[in-house]
């Protein structure tokens, strides 16, 4: 809090507080894949007693915290190419098995970053035509496998455009695949033609969301 976001509001969750919203949705003992970017923060916010198994698609289940300078290993990284450590009971495997875990429905929850997400539950996060190409990486596989797909993104782009739309305008990563959206302003559920507001960050009003009334519906 305190820092002013693009909407001009001081009332918004920090990235760590956004991560805490995701942590609240996790059942004890579940398996979890974390995408590159903001989702990576979720790993640092999970209380160890929840017994969550973090999967990274480059071939590890059981990701723990950051390593110490003494224990760091060039061959032990997450999908964001960041150094990690693993907890007791962790395992390593090849990429086909890693994506088999995802595609086969063995990973309970998947958290991805996004450029745009829409009311139909479609996600765009891999390219801006003519400007930027990051590639889809594992995102197109991840959105179809997990039981719960959560997208974490800032509510507004740096230019001030709202990222929650009726329909995405950028090339899709997956169509109708997102179950929950966590932004710095609130938690939302796409319902087809609109977004249900599950909760808003303290002090945030619907007016600040930059979305038309028809695009919003409150949780009943």
């Amino acid at each position: 809090m305190g820092e002013v976001n693009v909407s001009g509001s001081q009332n918004h969750w920090s990235k760590n507080e956004m991560a805490d919203q995701v942590v609240e949705m996790l059942h004890d003992g579940s398996s979890l894949n974390l995408g590159i970017g903001i989702p990576t923060l979720v790993a640092q916010r999970i209380p160890p007693e929840k017994g969550i198994w973090i999967h990274s698609e480059n071939g590890v289940l059981g990701v723990a915290g950051r390593p110490t300078p003494e224990s760091v290993s060039a061959t032990l990284i997450n999908a964001g190419k960041e150094t990690i450590s693993v907890k007791k009971g962790a395992s390593f495997f090849d990429s086909a098995m890693s994506f088999g875990m995802i595609r086969g429905g063995h990973i309970d929850v998947c958290v991805l970053g996004g450029m745009q997400v829409d009311a139909e539950g479609s996600l765009a996060n891999w390219m801006i035509p003519g400007k930027k190409v990051t590639g889809m990486g594992g995102a197109m596989d991840l959105v179809h496998g997990a039981k719960l797909v959560i997208v974490m993104l800032t509510h507004f782009s740096k230019r001030g455009d709202v990222k929650l739309l009726h329909r995405c305008t950028l090339p899709l990563t997956g169509k109708g695949v997102v179950h929950k959206i966590v932004t710095d302003l609130g938690v939302f559920t796409p319902t087809g033609e609109s977004f249900q507001i599950d909760r808003l960050a303290p002090g945030v009003t619907e007016k600040q969301l930059g979305m038309t009334d028809t695009l919003l519906s409150s949780a009943s």
Partner: protein, 232 residues
């Protein structure tokens, strides 16, 4: 018995020519075959079709070959973190096919395992579905075909003269799959050990998939993003 053991990268890559397809293991810079890539650069091979998850990263690995314009075609899943590839892609200097990572690894596995095709939901309803056969099972899926190559260059932590391999931590990634999918698989290892030194239970890739193996040297093993405890 013909030995699979070669002296070094120069000896092991003797018959690689311009225009071949080359699979290269590694996720970012983790587990990349540094010696074989540098040998391709030294020999200035051209017009290569590189098949690799990232085609190098942070200016290293296969990006060494991108800088020399040795790669004319690339099949990969991720461009982020690889400015050399993104620049050549946006300037239309290289023909890039982006494949979802799970489909990428499964297509390579399928090539090695004799699977002629498979259906997967990844990419359905997106641009990459264009021109692909689709079919509805419990959910709509795309038909995907195997991905094979002339050569695979991979790196393992340990290997023996038959080509049995053991990989360290997350350095395994695509390497065992690529080893199965190429006509000629060339492995470089940090430690070339005696036959029997890798316990049969610990063999990650059986030697039957490997044609050539050599002891590598001078590894950089670059850490791309070092983050330590109490940092964010």
């Amino acid at each position: 018995m013909t030995s699979k053991v070669f002296k070094d990268a120069e000896a092991a890559l003797f018959d690689m020519k311009d225009g071949v397809s080359v699979m290269s293991g590694g996720f970012g810079l983790c587990g990349i075959p540094e010696n074989s890539i540098l040998e391709i650069r030294r020999r200035a091979l051209k017009n290569l079709h590189a098949i690799s998850n990232n085609i190098g990263n942070s200016g290293r690995g296969l990006a060494w070959l991108l800088k020399e314009k040795q790669i004319s075609r690339a099949t990969c899943s991720y461009v982020g973190g690889n400015p050399d590839l993104e620049a050549q892609m946006l300037a239309n200097e290289i023909d890039v096919t982006l494949v979802p990572q799970g489909t990428f690894s499964e297509r390579i596995r399928a090539a090695g395992m004799g699977i002629r095709a498979f259906y997967t939901p990844a990419g359905y309803g997106t641009e990459i579905a264009e021109g692909k056969e689709s079919r509805a099972f419990d959910m709509p899926c795309l038909l995907e075909l195997p991905l094979a190559a002339d050569f695979a260059i991979i790196k393992a932590q340990k290997g023996d003269p038959y080509g049995n391999l053991w990989f360290k931590e997350t350095a395994r990634n695509f390497s065992p799959l690529m080893a199965m999918a190429a006509k000629v698989t060339i492995v470089e290892v940090e430690q070339l050990v005696e036959l029997g030194e890798i316990s049969p239970e610990d063999v990650h890739l059986p030697g039957v998939f490997v044609q050539r193996i050599y002891q590598g040297a001078d590894y950089e093993n670059t850490i791309e993003i070092p983050i330590f405890k109490d940092e964010t």
